[in-house]
Subunit: 138 residues, 2 copies
């Protein structure tokens, strides 16, 4: 009886995975990091923040060959909400990026402007499409 109870208890946290999901989520990233950064900026720093975000995005894609995308967007209906599509060739490319002078400058100079930051990691669904969309897929 105790054994059954322990079994039941240990099953609870994995219940959804064990019972409902047909298959584990499929990693199509081929080692890439594919991320949507969700950022909320304080209204009073918005213009200043946008300049910094555009600058670091441009320099990174230009100078770092394994930064495939840093593509910042501003929500039209909520102008303090920023989304950035970030794609790094691999973990090393990401580590090089966050150690770069331009990223460090961006981070230091915008830290007080950022109200909220979420890094949303994803798996791309369609590797063939990746090759058709992004210049640095070649």
């Amino acid at each position: 009886m105790i054994k059954v109870l322990i079994m039941l208890i240990t099953m609870i946290p994995m219940g959804k995975t064990a019972i409902w999901a047909k298959e584990p989520i499929q990693d199509n990233n081929n080692g890439m990091i594919v991320r949507i950064s969700e950022i909320e900026v304080y209204q009073e720093y918005l213009d200043e923040y946008l300049n910094h975000a555009a600058e670091v995005a441009q320099i990174s894609v230009e100078k770092e060959k394994d930064v495939i995308s840093i593509y910042p967007m501003q929500l039209i209906k909520h102008d303090t909400q920023i989304r950035i599509l970030e794609i790094y060739r691999n973990q090393k490319a990401y580590e090089n990026h966050i150690a770069s002078p331009h990223f460090k400058k961006y981070k230091e100079e915008t830290l007080h402007m950022v109200k909220h930051l979420d890094l949303i990691d994803t798996y791309q669904l369609c590797p063939t499409n990746f090759n058709k969309i992004f210049k640095k897929s070649d």
Copy 2:
């Protein structure tokens, strides 16, 4: 006095814009539609939905020259949450896309699988970067 009151009342809805925002939000899209679609799928249809989403994305970017990006992603930590970066050259390109046989097929066959859909329109922050990232920017 009544005139002043009416003035005050009419100012309320535009208060934030009139007083706080330094400048209106800047449209850097050059006529493009730049959108993040946020989609939640019912768990029981997830695998099936992912196949449809990958298929329509691939066909659209391949066949439609003015569909610059339809890049679907699945959130690693919330596998029923899908995000799609959609970029259309212009309004006409978008209209052609939603009238295409492959989009209509996708829409019809996935309608019952979608729990929630949000189309989040954005302005890109950095047009120079757009040219460096996307193949069809040329």
